[in-house]
């Protein structure tokens, strides 16, 4: 069996050489079948025409012979009672012989010649008998010459009949032999064809089974790599969130708290130093301002990385906070209408809802030119539906699918949810994410 060539994926399921072998085998099989059928038909028709010729030969000879034979029997009686009528009948019998086919083999011709001879003999002895005028003499001549000669004529006729029967039998036997030969030949040929057909079929089955197995293996590999990719993607996203969480904690706990403590210390320092020393107090004020803006910067970074309200207040409050933050910093006013989410909602789903809202609202603020935006979060049936809508300039979702939307889709899909983007240029945009609830 041909193994697929390297890079067999491009060759189709079967290798090129395997295909060629299969096509050639099936072609040969088909040609053999046609040839066998053709020769069988030709042989059969030749046997049939030989048979027809033989039987017509036989009949064309038998017919005059039977006529002659039956008339000869009549003649046998007539020659004893009315020899004059008998002479007329005999000439009819001789005329009957003229109907016997002309094409004859040598043996046959000899037999015919013999018949002619004995018939002439009969004519002669009957004429001699009729020439006698004595009744007794005529009776003697009849018994001694005419009747024996008549018997010889009958014998000669029967000889020809016998020969004719034999020849027909021989031809038939020959035809039987050739038809038996044909049968045997066909039998062998058909057996050969059946054998090779079976072999080819078996080969094909084995080949296809092998190919199928390979396809299954390849498919399994493909599915596995796809799963692995999704798994990797999920873990990357998880790792990203964890990383953000730890950086956020680090910033908040270490940097933020140290700065906070520094602020408190500076406050106490300022209180302990003479209030009328303008230079020192001014310097401390500047230091405090610097520390305060650092605290604010650290807090903002930490919040971007990990919204602590998600932990402190829950998902709905975090979304409301996000909406207010966007409203404060941009020209768009965001309204939130949210049901409380189920208490057992997975952390990953909460995070996903939060991030999708964040991304969508940022897109709205940055690109849409919207003045109003609405966030709704509802449970309906067995799913949780998040919708972010704006009254901005919209876009064609078929054409522009930014990385942001792809990222949202990926996040949602990893949690077995679905994301739909609906927008018509000039009529705002709407993003809907649905998550199944167990």
């Amino acid at each position: 069996m041909a193994t697929p060539e390297p890079g067999g994926v491009d060759e189709g399921f079967l290798g090129r050489s395997t295909k060629r072998i299969l096509i050639v085998s099936f072609g040969i099989l088909l040609a053999l079948l046609v040839a066998a059928g053709w020769s069988a038909i030709a042989t059969l028709s030749s046997i049939h025409s030989q048979e027809l010729a033989a039987s017509s030969d036989f009949l064309s000879r038998t017919e005059p012979l039977i006529q002659m034979h039956s008339k000869l029997i009549l003649y046998g009686g007539l020659v004893q009672t009315a020899p004059g009528d008998a002479r007329q009948l005999f000439s009819q019998i001789r005329a009957e012989l003229a109907h016997y086919p002309r094409e004859r083999c040598q043996e046959e011709q000899t037999l015919i010649d013999h018949l002619q001879t004995v018939m002439s003999d009969q004519d002669r002895v009957r004429a001699q008998m009729l020439a006698l005028h004595d009744a007794q003499l005529m009776k003697n001549a009849l018994g001694n010459a005419v009747l024996p000669s008549h018997l010889r004529v009958i014998a000669a006729t029967e000889q020809i009949t016998f020969w004719n029967d034999n020849r027909f039998r021989a031809v038939n036997a020959g035809l039987l032999v050739s038809s038996n030969q044909l049968r045997d030949r066909l039998k062998i040929l058909l057996l050969c064809l059946l054998g090779s057909g079976l072999a080819i079929a078996l080969g094909s089955v084995v080949l296809i089974a092998a190919q199928e197995k390979e396809i299954r293996v390849r498919y399994a590999e493909l599915a596995k790599s796809h799963d692995a990719r999704a798994d990797l993607s999920a873990r990357l996203m998880d790792a990203q969130e964890q990383e953000r969480l730890s950086i956020s904690r680090e910033l908040h706990d270490e940097v933020g708290q140290s700065l906070g403590a520094l602020l408190v210390d500076m406050g106490r320092l300022s209180a302990n130093l003479p209030q009328n020393d303008e230079t020192v107090q001014d310097q401390i004020r500047k230091m405090r301002q610097l520390a305060e803006s650092s605290v604010a910067a650290v807090r903002n970074i930490a919040l971007l990385l990990r919204p602590s309200m998600l932990d402190d207040l829950g998902l709905v409050a975090a979304i409301e906070w996000q909406a207010r933050e966007i409203s404060r910093r941009n020209d768009v006013e965001v309204e939130v209408q949210a049901d409380e989410v189920p208490a057992n909602l997975k952390e990953a789903v909460k995070m996903c809802i939060y991030r999708v809202t964040q991304e969508a609202l940022n897109n709205t603020a940055r690109h849409s030119g919207a003045h109003r935006a609405w966030v709704t979060l509802h449970t309906s049936g067995g799913s949780l539906e998040l919708k972010i809508r704006d009254d901005g300039k919209g876009f064609d979702p078929q054409r522009s699918r930014g990385l942001g939307i792809l990222g949202m889709e990926e996040r949602v899909r990893l949690l077995k949810g679905s994301l739909a983007v609906h927008s018509v240029p000039g009529e705002g945009a709407e993003i809907t994410a649905r998550f199944p609830l167990q």
């Binding site: 908040h252 906070g260 403590a261 309200m309 207010r324 409203s327 006013e333």
Partner: protein
């Protein structure tokens, strides 16, 4: 008057010691305990029965809002000052709903903590001035963008007075005494103003008052 007994709850030791210094500068305050997470704060509030708990919102195991809710549910007489990094109304409203009467930003804790402890000890409310400012800005911006009218304009001057007194922590009876009105009249005004402002419950009323700068 006995010294005010204060319990400090914050997961950072540095902050706790800073807070302790501020509190103990005040002659009438004394720190009776320190908790470094929400669960410990609830347990210590139970065993020490402090007058005031100064509580950070962001704490591990049980956050400050949950801890405050548990404490005020078991001991309504314990006053709570919430410490937070956030001036967002989501935090303020949830802190109020959890029963906190004071809400301080950590940045300004040093300047305002003593006043906040005093206020909540007397049953009054206290909010960092920055919080009022942020809430007011949010509110005004929203009004301007949505084109809605300020429902505050719908209130009569009497209703405004009562709104402020109630939000500051005065009962209907105390407000009635201060305004020389009957308790019934005060309660009618109060119900009317809450309907006009579409407010549900005290936390929303206080938040509204803070937003309007009626409490500081």
């Amino acid at each position: 008057m006995n010294p005010t007994r204060v319990l400090l709850a914050d997961d950072h030791k540095l902050i706790r010691s800073g807070l302790r210094l501020i509190v103990e500068q005040h002659p009438e305050f004394t720190v009776v305990g320190e908790a470094d997470d929400g669960r410990q704060a609830v347990a210590l509030a139970e065993s020490l029965k402090p007058d005031v708990v100064v509580m950070d919102i962001g704490m591990p195991s049980l956050n400050g809002i949950e801890a405050a809710a548990q404490i005020t549910k078991a001991h309504p007489d314990i006053a709570i000052v919430m410490l937070s990094m956030h001036s967002d109304e989501g935090y303020v409203l949830r802190a109020l709903k959890a029963g906190a009467r004071g809400y301080l930003l950590k940045d300004s804790a040093e300047a305002d903590l003593s006043r906040a402890i005093d206020a909540v000890r007397e049953g009054k409310s206290f909010f960092s001035p920055v919080v009022s400012k942020v809430l007011l800005e949010d509110y005004m911006r929203k009004l301007a963008r949505s084109g809605a009218e300020d429902s505050f304009d719908l209130l009569s001057s009497r209703e405004r007075e009562i709104l402020q007194l109630v939000a500051e922590g005065n009962s209907s009876k105390e407000s009635a005494g201060l305004l020389n009105l009957s308790v019934h009249t005060v309660e009618t005004h109060r119900a009317n103003l809450m309907q006009k402002l579409n407010l549900r419950g005290m936390p929303e009323l206080i938040l509204y008052a803070v937003r309007k700068g009626l409490i500081r």
